[in-house]
């Protein structure tokens, strides 16, 4: 009799759809459920990925993607009234804030690389960039070899800084490399004539150019020196949360929604000035949309 009862109970558990959906929550998802809030880290001026528009609202390509993730979390936890806390982060504090649990997920323009993978987990890639140069249209600079003996500005702590210093050393190009605090200041250094070129991720260069007084004076040139994959950052080792994030991103990227999102931020006028970045969909991006993955390029 006892055996039958146990068997019946097991059958019941196995068949009952409601019970099966109640997968036990761990880590970040449990924390979100218990606190009723999800904390999302965003950037303040990473145009067009994550930045403030003229109404002081956070907008951008990465921000729209992370809001889809938030929707997926709401659905999964069955909490339509989940509070979303938006926390601005900088490139200096974003990793510590993930590690100490202040933010649950960061979405901006963070490169997924092997060094960082030792500290945090990255979602499926949102965007692939190449590192190139922003120069004045009439400067005569067409590519990296033209920079010999010139002043070049990079933003401190970017992969571009590492690459340009290596290039300077290896080819003894005699460049003076200025490393500015943020992208805005790098562009100011370029505009003030201190440097003749600004090396950075092409998408961000297009964003800086769009902020200029006369965007037509500036042009993005040069052979891409590296590829980088932008991903969302999460705490390390939380497979349950990462799977939810990855699934959400993959679902969007493999649907027509991805190209619509791309067109909205890279091929149409964007806030705050209504400028068009005019950055066509690259082969790397097409490849990414075909097969989403969380691989780092370096």
């Amino acid at each position: 009799m006892k055996k039958y009862l146990v068997g019946a109970t097991l059958c019941f558990i196995a068949l009952c759809p409601g019970m099966r959906a109640q997968e036990e929550l761990t880590g970040t998802l449990k924390k979100i459920k218990d606190s009723g809030t999800i904390s999302v880290g965003h950037r303040e001026s990473s145009v067009p990925f994550s930045y403030y528009d003229d109404k002081n609202q956070v907008v951008g390509y990465s921000h729209e993607l992370v809001m889809k993730v938030v929707d997926a979390v709401k659905q999964k936890l069955n909490m339509p009234n989940l509070q979303v806390k938006l926390i601005p982060v900088t490139s200096q504090n974003r990793i510590p804030l993930i590690q100490n649990g202040t933010i649950d997920i960061e979405s901006g323009s963070t490169t997924n690389n092997l060094e960082r993978q030792k500290q945090v987990d990255f979602s499926d890639t949102m965007f692939v960039i190449g590192t190139r140069l922003l120069v004045k249209k009439d400067s005569g600079i067409k590519d990296f070899p033209d920079l010999k003996g010139k002043n070049v500005v990079v933003t401190a702590g970017t992969t571009s800084e590492r690459l340009i210093r290596e290039m300077n050393e290896k080819n003894s190009m005699g460049m003076n490399i200025i490393s500015a605090k943020d992208h805005g200041e790098s562009f100011l250094t370029l505009q003030s004539g201190r440097a003749v070129a600004f090396m950075l991720d092409d998408a961000l260069l297009a964003g800086e150019r769009a902020k200029a007084r006369k965007p037509d004076d500036w042009v993005v040139v040069g052979t891409p020196q590296s590829k980088e994959a932008y991903g969302m950052m999460m705490t390390k080792g939380d497979t349950q949360f990462k799977k939810l994030v990855d699934d959400t991103i993959a679902k969007i990227e493999t649907s027509p929604e991805a190209e619509k999102l791309y067109t909205k931020w890279f091929l149409s006028p964007i806030p705050p000035k209504g400028l068009n970045l005019n950055l066509p969909l690259s082969d790397d991006m097409k490849q990414l949309y075909k097969s989403p993955n969380d691989k780092a390029f370096q």
């Binding site: 490139s91 200096q92 504090n93 990793i95 510590p96 590690q99 100490n100 649990g101 060094e115 960082r116 030792k118 500290q119 945090v120 002043n151 401190a156 702590g157 970017t158 800084e161 590492r162 210093r165 290596e166 050393e169 003076n176 490399i177 200025i178 490393s179 500015a180 605090k181 200041e185 100011l188 250094t189 003030s192 004539g193 201190r194 440097a195 705490t235 390390k236």
Partner: protein
Amino acid sequence: MPILAAGLDWSIFFQPAFDGSGNYLRFLFVGFQWTLFVAVTGWIIAFVVGSIVGVFRTLPGRVLPTLGTVYVEVFRNIPLLVQLFLWYFVFPDIVPHLGTWFKQSLNPLLQQFLAGALCLGFFTAARVAEQVRSGINSLGAGQRAAGLALGFNIPQVYRIVLLPVAYRIIIPTLTSEFLNIIKNSAVASTIGLIELSRQSQQLGEFTAHWYESFIAVTLLYGIINVTVMTISRFVEKFTRLPGYVGGK
């Protein structure tokens, strides 16, 4: 604690730095040197300019004291970061020939160093001036009058009677200002000077080991400041006069 779970890895300081200059310990040491260099240069400017302005504010007459007051109010009331941007970004653009030369002929590192040292120096000078002034005023009118009665002229009264005592009285507050200028030198990282706090941020960016980097840099600033404090204690002890602050 998730931080402890991630584990602190001190071996990162012996990994090769991203710019190929050696390991990260050396990399931090370069920043340490620039911090000292910019702070000490700034301090020399601050001490000289601050002393002159402070003396101006205590002189008889109207023109020089007013000049002193204007200096102090202008440099004390504009935030340090704003002043730095004025020195580095605005002046080179509005001063016709010198500005262009500064921007295009000087090595960028030298530009950052000069802007940083001048900014810190003139900002701190306003604060030093106030201390020199209060040091002189704390002596009362009697010493000045006694000096004049002995037949000294005004420069002699200041050089022989007032300043030697006034400086001794303000050694403790000057020490605080020196400590401040060392800590304030971190603002030079915003214009790209590779001083200590900038190097620690770079270390964090390239190794992703932020906690190790912040802990190391805190210790290094601590070492500088404790050294300064110790030296200043000795100076205070050896220069004190009977009957004044700290003296017997």
